[in-house]
């Protein structure tokens, strides 16, 4: 183990038992790198094994998992293992020539605080068939130290109330993925979704992030975020629905929002 590195050991124990905040996660990654020590699952497995052992010794008789949850798990699995998994069907967001510009938004609905944020230009790439799927890439990123996961807040707009998912983002890698389930299908000839990423530390104005579509049958999609501008600390991710091709100035509303704050 890491008896010669008490701080490193302390962080590994903390990660295994109660989790790390972002600063601690960065510190751990740095220490592992500096010391040339390969990260391992040892302590997390030990904590899980301890949890199992104490669970067995604990008071028993709690209710089993509800049947409707087991049914839902089977449905989720059916979708996941389907031959044509829907989560990779909508990977590419259409790249736009203007993606290199910082397009200013003037959201009429935004408060002063919201206006004091900048949206990342989320250039979107077409997937090379030799590259990992979006799902695989997202999972790989989840395992990287310093990666944060921000869940979409329960949307207030009725049509989007069932939208769930999250945004996974890593500052150091400048890599991220949006996971969306239950997002209503759009007709690209009529409207398109537009992605925005908010980073108040970078600029005071929001920037266009590109457009994407949700085709029929796509219950869950993973959309990679290919940041063209460095994002230091994204505070929020937001989706609006706009005319085909997106807009330069959006009046909103924000249909789905994930706020890191």
């Amino acid at each position: 183990m890491n008896e010669k590195h008490p701080l490193l050991q302390e962080l590994l124990v903390l990660r295994a038992t109660e989790g790390l905040d972002e600063d601690q996660a960065r510190q751990l990654a740095r220490l592992l790198q500096d010391e040339g020590i390969e990260d391992s699952l040892d302590l997390e497995l030990a904590a899980a094994a301890a949890s199992n052992a104490f669970a067995l010794r604990s008071a028993k008789g709690a209710e089993d998992a509800p049947q409707h949850l087991k049914d839902q798990l089977m449905q989720d699995a059916d979708r996941f293992f389907a031959e044509d998994p829907v989560d990779d069907r909508v990977v590419p967001l259409r790249p736009r020539a203007a993606v290199v510009e910082e397009r200013r938004l003037n959201w009429g609905w935004a408060t002063a605080a919201v206006l004091a944020m900048v949206l990342l230009v989320g250039g979107i790439v077409n997937r090379d068939p030799t590259m990992p799927t979006a799902s695989e890439a997202r999972n790989a990123l989840l395992a990287v130290e310093g990666t944060v996961t921000v869940e979409w807040a329960p949307p207030e707009t009725a049509d989007y109330a069932s939208v769930r998912g999250d945004v996974v983002w890593n500052d150091e890698r400048q890599e991220g993925y949006m996971l969306l389930s239950g997002m209503p299908v759009n007709d690209p000839g009529v409207t398109q979704y537009q992605l925005w990423v908010v980073d108040p530390a970078r600029d005071a104005n929001p920037v266009d992030g590109g457009v994407f579509d949700i085709p029929a049958g796509a219950r869950e999609v993973i959309i990679p975020i290919d940041a063209k501008l460095a994002v230091r600390n994204p505070a929020a991710f937001a989706i609006t629905r706009e005319k085909p091709g997106g807009v330069v100035v959006s009046d909103g509303p924000l249909l789905v929002v994930a706020s890191a704050g």
């Binding site: 301890a50 010794r57 998992a65 869940e151």
Partner: protein, 183 residues
């Protein structure tokens, strides 16, 4: 003997149902310990199983038993979720603790030779250290909360957990007998 996760990774669809049937109780019990609101727990369980389908191929039975690996993935997700909620699980006195392990969860743990071996290793620790590790691992309490509730100095709490996990890790590394649940 092929484990359920290895079968899933090999594309055996029957193993998916077996995985849900075998482990949903344990994962549910863990989720209910970490997340007091039932809807949160249900959502977390769905996320955990999705991650399980994704990571089935990374499971190595030579490193740990299947039930330990699944608990690890579940705990990782639950810890993360709880941190977002900025909430600690209820820290009621141990002798007043409500039932927390369901029958399905109990069945899979009782069938796990590895869990029995780890339990044996834990029982070699002194009672005060066992209680601290219980509060940290199964009850999900922070080191600070444990120190506050038990009156044990924080440094001692940290030391108990650190040494205890190292002892348990050694027990995990002992010659493994396949878990019955992994048939």
């Amino acid at each position: 003997m092929t484990t359920i996760l290895e079968r899933i990774a090999a594309g055996d669809r029957d193993a998916v149902a077996a995985c849900i049937e075998t482990y949903s109780g344990l994962v549910w019990s863990l989720a209910r310990r970490f997340l007091p609101i039932e809807a949160d727990a249900e959502e977390a369980v769905q996320e955990i199983f999705m991650e399980l389908w994704n990571k089935a191929g990374s499971y190595n039975p030579e490193v740990a038993g299947e039930v330990t690996f699944i608990s690890m993935l579940a705990r990782r997700r639950l810890i993360d979720r709880r941190r977002k909620l900025d909430r600690e699980p209820a820290s009621e006195p141990l002798d007043e603790m409500q039932p927390a392990l369901c029958e399905d969860g109990q069945r899979v743990l009782e069938a796990s030779a590895e869990t029995q071996r780890v339990l044996g290793a834990i029982e070699t620790l002194k009672p005060e250290q066992q209680e601290v590790i219980n509060m940290s691992s199964w009850l999900g309490m922070s080191q600070g909360a444990i120190a506050q509730q038990t009156g044990i100095p924080l440094g001692t709490v940290k030391s108990y957990i650190n040494r205890g996990l190292l002892r348990i890790r050694e027990a995990l590394g002992e010659p493994a007998r396949p878990d019955k649940a992994s048939s």
